[in-house]
Chain length 416, copies 4
């Protein structure tokens, strides 16, 4: 089976149309998986594909149908317990590490539920006051599309037989020039400030003061990472954060997550690595150590966003055909293109903290993004697994510094 | 789906016939399971149903076909790595706790392998020198039939939705009289001493000296266990072994494994408990504490076997229709019948140690039963999930004192 | 025995004089401890008092005597292995959690070493080029004075008999008015920018942009914390960071570290809590949850520093007699005084990250403060256990969000 | 300081005299230790020397003075909480792993307590009905003398500086002939059956049936162990019990506990190993693997005892000057002498289980030896650290199969 081609859809299409497209893509992504594939949970951080199919449906059923459709009855009253993720306000739920024990309900059961919920949603698309919540639902489901892909990759990787999920071949990456985007410093306006949807953690928009700096025009490549390894990068304490050095040694880390000899594991099974493609599946610790080794540093989230918005107050245009694969409306971009978006998430050295005057939304939905604020770092950009609509300058992704099962990479910065 | 009725077969039937019956029963037991059910691994002690289907096939392919059929080619050279269990002599293998990550090969793939191996076995049944190894293969596969049932029970139990595997109803248990089998003591001959198959750990036969004792004619019941709980059994330190008391408190143990309020979890989902049925799914620690509470003790394996063989040197006849459900030739026995076999495994106070002059067999097959000899206790009898052919006086089952996912119960003993 | 009164000394005194005073205070602080007290290590985060006595001596011997005094021979060549703390560049060293196993060398052995090193230092005080390194040595030893006090408090707390180290009584705290220091926002200059010593992590000085805010003029008190508890603060998920909520539940946290009923553990043993004294020994998680409960928030490190430097560009004078107890030159300040310094360290919501253009120093000394930059939060101010000379606006202390054995407290902030 | 020479005393001396001798020896053993040495706890299995000094005193104060001396007041009512070991019936007590946090009370405080208890005991020696309990107290304190020595050895070993506790030199061991004690098999009477004191776990005496066997006349030596290592013993899975193989690999075990290159750690610090001296500080797993490698096996506890009592019903005289170092009445025996007692404890393959008809004593004292009966193995003989009075054929020591901080060694057996 080959990887699904997303159906193009414009963000100004009717809500009902967009809903159909988003929902269909989730199912298309899971389609190549067997019942057993879809049930695997390889670690506490990851969830089964089937669980993702169900959880996003729980979101629509709970926050739209249950809360806003008179007389709606839950499809199965026992399911919220198993398909709520982390919303404390929504009550007790299954221990996270037990999601992989859910052989029942089956994928077919969940697809039936999805169809039921999809049909029930119909009347809500016309209620204007619900549009923001429905927009949130789109973004939520799209985030889980990305997680579905990264989680199943991690699960299939555990299998010594190295199974492939599809047979899509990645085009050869082009060598990129070694350029830098310079910024003169000054006050920049950061955070969500345009029309259109954004998560609550992208605001409020506010000003920050930047010193002069430059951001690399390209991502660090597999070849460069191999040089880092060959130069003893993983054995040199002085390159690493103290916590990172402990992590490297406690876990005997010697390469990015999916590397083995000159191959790396992909959704299409084990493949030869492309020297000129961006290196991916790194921890923050590794990204930071590489930057030290290279004599540069990681950017702050503000520097990255300032460049993305355009130097000196003007937004840098990023390739409108951004290379992400889940895109709603565009063809894939050549890997390694000079774009801030679409190859992999890029670590910044900014701790994930609320912006000034941030207030979480009221109620359970407020737990969506207003929760995880300790010890994580902000990532910018978007990966090949990210939905196109999520490629925006203000988007803040966030992970713990040891996590690396996402498509995470490195873009260097330097003081000037 | 209802539980499979084992096809009757006599142990003096031709090997090929017996092979076909054993192999068919394994598949019949797994038949009610979905692809996802069959892939679940709920703890390191347990294995996926699919893995059992494959591992027993690996056994036939390795120790019969590969070792004894000229020109046989492995069906898939990569599979021994994932389907070897613990045979060090057979090389590296997958970490035990990763068996649950094997969504591939699929159940269908493994059934194909089974068919291939079954066909290839044909010429070996006529080679007399292989008969003992083939007998071992039967017993091996039958042990895994029992594990398949206990492992999937444990896996389904993790699901908060409490799914059922089949809808078989258990007949109401009869109240049993409170009788004791007395034994005058003296020298008893212990261990495998008849014709017919036995595992190597059942021998060599040897003499032991017994003091006068009595063994209860029945198993401890759910009602009695409820009294133990009501009397504060789980809160009374003096009843417990030191290690047991630590285990109770560290794990907050307050009832047998599958109890919840007045129900217990079964292959048919949550069911009301039958007060007069034998209590099952206990640890050695619990069995020992109960015996202390009851003012009695657990039997030694020698006492149990002496009774099973008949007091004063004559074997006690155990019900030939023994209640085990996987039996090759007999109808189910009423639960709670006055039999030493067929309801549940019975803990003895005997540590699992080799018998005098025991020597493990040479080669990888020698690892079969000559390995686990530290800290485990011997269990006698057979459970409702044990193959009939395994109901013999010399059979030695063995588990760690904290394990309780097998059908384990209590039969009391006392000094007289 | 009562607590030592620090000998007053001015920072413009000769280096030799200051050295003598600092060294003497370390020994005075350890004087009330028995040989066994001084050897205790209660957790990996803490070190034995004896180890602190030795480690600071190792610092002088290594970075001053060995590196700068011709012909100096190490007092004992085996000791660097056990008294190096975390300097990778200085080679292998004892596992951190094994420091508590060092019954030998004895305290007397180490005091001999101290005397030897003190004498050997004599000629170095006149070498001007070494003055900055000697200044660093003062600050280093003073930091360990504080750790010595917080570590031994934690160790003595483990003893069910609640031993006291001395019998100093704390004066009754005064009720403080509920005032706020307002700041209009704008560009503030942050980081070390005056003459005098600072750690490398306090620079480079740089500008940040602040929004209008206010900082409380006082610390949160024991009485307020008791109200938070009574109001179910520790049981209300919505008040807590996600990681904090997990920490509270995993560790069954229900009060600050040293609280028990209406008492708290101190260096003088168990004492009644003073309702109006600042609450101390909190984690970042607790501080943040309290701020949410109070309807306010924690300040950023920049806000705190801006107020400390004076609103609108003018430094707020903090009480020159700052309440810290290890002070080189001043009598104790009344507890709870309107001061930013001297009662307890105050959590900010700022992650501990390097300032723009920060470069760690070369060599092993560069590991001093340029290491711990992941997942920690900045604390400002100084505690009752901090040396006076460390009470400066730019000082950055840093701990993980779960740690609370330091004298940590809360000062609230709000947007205006 | 050199090791104390035990004062000779006969077991038919008056109780008061024996009490004085036992109590004095405990203090003499602890005398070389500093306050800090005596407070060290290196692992949960071990206790501080000071704690042993106190715990044995708690035993006398609790079970003799409190229970049997009218009007006796506890010396300190808070101390039972910290100095009770594991007697559940005596109430709550300090967590075992926190014993190392007891810097207070000091050694001097405890010596005062000891003197107070010693004086208070005076009137009880004349009360005949208390003699058995006083005898138990002697044996209890002597067991803790051995633990004091093995625990402090383990604690000092943690120190990278390798401190010595005294400077006693061990005489060179003699080469021993390779003889075997043969036994024709038959019924042997096992367990305590003479006059004199024995622990309750040594009875009831009972008969066992033995097969013909032989027991080596000597212990396995350091030289033989070096050959086992050189032959890849620690890397050969087939030699090991399954649990043992896991233990070896999980803990990277490659030699006996205190070995390093050609030295081993002793109470006198690091010393060259004597090739002909018995190898010590082994786990059961190692002992069993060695026996497999040597083509022999470990004896059962019954075989060992039968030889110790004399072949064919007559007790084998063991050297009356048995080599144990804590002996009440005898000079040291040359190391490696042909004796069953005095060099090191010898693992048997017998699980530590109660003897037939065993009943624990009533009350808290019944917890003394009637508790630890799961997963441990019986050791026979006595070590160089065992009190002479404990060298008896029926004595049963017991440890978990991974423990090796006692003086444990190997004596081989074989079938004949």
């Amino acid at each position: 089976m080959s990887r699904p081609n997303p159906v193009p859809v414009r963000t100004d299409a009717p809500l009902a149309t967009r809903f159909a497209v988003v929902r269909a893509l989730t199912e298309a992504l899971a389609a190549p998986l067997s019942e057993a594939d879809a049930t695997l949970q390889s670690m506490e951080d990851a969830s089964p594909a089937k669980w993702h199919l169900a959880h996003v449906t729980w979101f629509w059923e709970t926050f739209l149908l249950r809360d806003h459709l008179d007389g709606y009855k839950l499809y199965d009253e026992r399911w919220p317990f198993v398909f709520n993720s982390y919303y404390e306000a929504e009550g007790e739920r299954i221990a996270r590490f037990s999601r992989g024990m859910l052989s029942r309900p089956t994928v077919a059961d969940i697809l039936d539920w999805r169809a039921h919920v999809d049909a029930a949603m119909e009347p809500l698309f016309e209620r204007e006051e619900l549009a923001p919540l429905i927009e949130l639902g789109f973004s939520h489901e799209q985030q889980h599309q990305e997680l579905l892909l990264t989680d199943i990759k991690h699960a299939l990787f555990q299998n010594p037989l190295g199974p492939a999920m599809w047979d899509k071949k990645t085009p050869q990456a082009q060598v990129q020039a070694d350029d830098w985007h310079s910024h003169p410093g000054g006050i920049a306006r950061i955070g969500h400030q345009e029309a259109g949807f954004a998560f609550d953690n992208e605001g409020p928009a506010h000003r920050v003061l930047l010193e002069p700096f430059a951001l690399s025009s390209r991502l660090v490549t597999n070849r460069e990472w191999a040089e880092f390894i060959a130069d003893g990068g993983y054995e040199t304490a002085s390159l690493w954060l103290s916590d990172g050095w402990a992590w490297v040694n406690d876990n005997n880390i010697r390469a990015p997550l999916y590397w083995h000899e000159d191959q790396h594991f992909t959704h299409s099974g084990w493949q030869a690595r492309d020297a000129h493609a961006p290196v991916t599946h790194l921890s923050y610790f590794e990204a930071d150590a590489f930057a030290s080794w290279a004599g540069h540093r990681l950017p702050t989230e503000f520097e990255w966003e300032a460049i993305a918005r355009g130097q000196e107050g003007e937004a840098v245009a990023h390739d409108p055909a951004g290379g992400n694969q889940l895109d709603e409306a565009a063809p894939p971009l050549p890997v390694g293109g000079d774009s801030l978006f679409g190859d992999c998430w890029q670590f910044t050295r900014s701790a994930y903290l609320p912006y000034p005057r941030f207030q979480p939304a009221e109620g359970a939905v407020g737990e969506y993004n207003g929760k995880f604020m300790s010890g994580q770092f902000v990532l910018k950009g978007a990966s090949c697994a990210t939905a196109r609509g999520h490629s925006r300058a203000s988007y803040r992704n966030f992970f713990y510094p040891h996590q690396r099962w996402q498509f995470t990479g490195v873009r260097l910065a330097k003081d000037i």
